[in-house]
């Protein structure tokens, strides 16, 4: 008799195209949330936190942008940290919250998507990607309860629908789709306020860049943790576009031009 255990796995092990599942079996200590958190109250170490990231839709897809500062309490931990990561050719993750776990999560997410693509021979749908990220955030919940909160935003171009889409998350991995824009992090509320006034449907790339950058500047104005454009040091916000033709970085001189224009309009240069 052929033992059904010998072949059944081929059908029920559908998680084998998931990298996180493989890691769970092969090296569980590398998964986020795998370390047992400290039990004492107030034991959370001071760690760098990423602050403001945002995403907004425009005519060709989505724009993601973030400031470059990481803060540790009232201190600046890093001035040039990158918070917007390419997840795959058609999507990106903006990280807010505890920088270490957040970057690790972004890396795991990238590997997850690439792994799926290689094993299955095709890409996950945008919804599939968004759900997967939600599951990873949920894994991190024990750490979040200890104060190491990771709440990314996820945006991408949905090939099947032919539009850009964006998602926000809560600490439990809850996933919420936003129709127009969203901003997350300590300066998130200020950026959202700014976007609310300036956002229009179907903006051109140039308009959308301007609106996004202006929102970041507003956030930096109001929020201690968010770094504004530092033209002296040449530190500019990072801005990425995700369209049908892929994930691309907005060129530095274009970002600089928009920053200068916003600051000029406010007569501060």
């Amino acid at each position: 008799m052929l033992d059904p255990e010998r072949w059944k796995h081929a059908f029920f092990d559908y998680s084998t195209s998931s990298f996180a599942e493989i890691l769970h079996r092969a090296a569980p200590h590398l998964l986020p949330g795998a370390t047992e958190p400290a039990r004492e109250e107030g034991a959370t170490p001071a760690v760098p936190h990423g602050t403001t990231v945002l995403a907004l839709r425009y005519r060709d897809g989505v724009i993601m942008a973030g400031d470059r500062q990481a803060s540790e309490g009232y201190q600046v931990a890093h001035r040039r940290i990158e918070k917007i990561f390419k997840a795959d050719d058609l999507s990106g993750v903006g990280i807010a919250g505890a920088a270490g776990p957040a970057m690790e999560m972004a890396r795991l997410f990238q590997t997850e998507l690439e792994h799926y693509e290689k094993v299955e021979g095709e890409n996950l749908s945008l919804d599939g990607k968004a759900n997967k990220l939600g599951q990873m955030i949920r894994l991190n919940l024990p750490m979040a309860m200890q104060g190491l909160v990771v709440v990314p935003i996820f945006a991408g171009f949905d090939e099947r629908a032919g539009v850009g889409r964006l998602f926000k998350y809560d600490v439990t991995g809850g996933r919420y789709e936003e129709t127009d824009y969203f901003a997350q992090g300590s300066g998130g509320k200020d950026a959202r306020d700014s976007l609310k006034k300036r956002f229009k449907r179907d903006m051109s790339r140039d308009e959308a860049l301007r609106v996004g950058i202006e929102a970041l500047i507003d956030a930096a104005d109001e929020d201690l943790g968010t770094g504004g454009p530092d033209l002296m040091r040449g530190i500019l916000p990072s801005v990425k576009t995700i369209t049908r033709s892929g994930f691309a970085e907005a060129p530095e001189d274009e970002i600089r031009r928009h920053c200068e224009a916003v600051l000029n309009d406010r007569n501060r240069l």
């Binding site: 990298f19 590398l30 290689k118």
Partner: protein
């Protein structure tokens, strides 16, 4: 209860090897050729959905001949090996050599321990960097034998003849179109048949590409490359 027949280990290995070789030689061939910007892989494969050549990692590709389900299993295992390694160390630490060794171990174990050996041969190919590191081509046989090849390699049906043809006609630093034509000619001449872009599966590891070097060449581009004036 019937007594099990005694078969000498030598005879058993011989039988298994013959069985595996037969299965492999029935399959269609794959050639790989080093060219100016990387490594080219050409497989005779009329299916556009079931691949014989695929990506393992940034600089590493995989090709298999023989039984599809068997080399597909090996391919997925390779992707896992590479992704876990790259995630726990860094992307640069994933090498074709350790992957080829893992394949060799796996196939060797299966060959000696299982009743039925795998009827497959696989190639693990790594493209060198622009800073002059060499390409690596590992050829792993059904019994775990591992060879490293230079300039070109062939496996599957008629692989001996193909290798001989390539030995006589290979030149260094061919451009993509020329390397492709050489590969396709090697497949055609040795089998006495014509192959069009619809019968071929072609991919390259292109060192001029960013990060993920693996690229499939779609049929339209293939057609252009094949019909370019020589």
């Amino acid at each position: 209860m019937p007594l099990p027949y005694y078969v000498s280990p030598e005879q058993m290995m011989k039988d298994k090897a013959e069985y595996a070789r037969k299965g492999i030689s029935r399959g269609k061939a794959i050639v790989t050729i080093e060219y100016r910007d990387g490594v080219l892989l050409v497989a005779e494969n009329p299916s556009t959905l079931l691949h014989k050549v695929s990506e393992i990692y940034d600089r590493i590709a995989f090709a298999g001949v023989g039984k599809y389900n068997e080399f597909e299993n090996l391919r997925v295992a390779g992707v896992r090996h590479a992704d876990v390694k790259g995630y726990s160390y860094s992307r640069g630490d994933v090498s074709a050599k350790s992957l080829a060794n893992a394949y060799s171990q796996a196939l060797g174990n299966i060959f000696t321990q299982d009743i039925k050996p795998f009827e497959v041969e696989v190639l693990v190919v790594e493209v060198g960097d622009t800073n002059g590191t060499k390409n690596e081509i590992y050829h792993i046989l059904y019994d775990g034998t591992i060879e490293d090849e230079k300039n070109y390699a062939a496996m599957g049906g008629q692989s001996e003849e193909i290798r001989r043809y390539l030995k006589d006609n290979f030149q260094e630093s061919l451009d993509l179109a020329a390397a492709l034509r050489l590969g396709v000619r090697a497949l055609m001449v040795t089998q006495n048949k014509t192959l069009t872009e619809r019968d071929l599966e072609v991919a390259v590891l292109d060192r001029t590409k960013e990060r993920r070097k693996f690229r499939r060449i779609p049929a339209e581009v293939l057609h252009q490359l094949l019909t370019e004036t020589t």
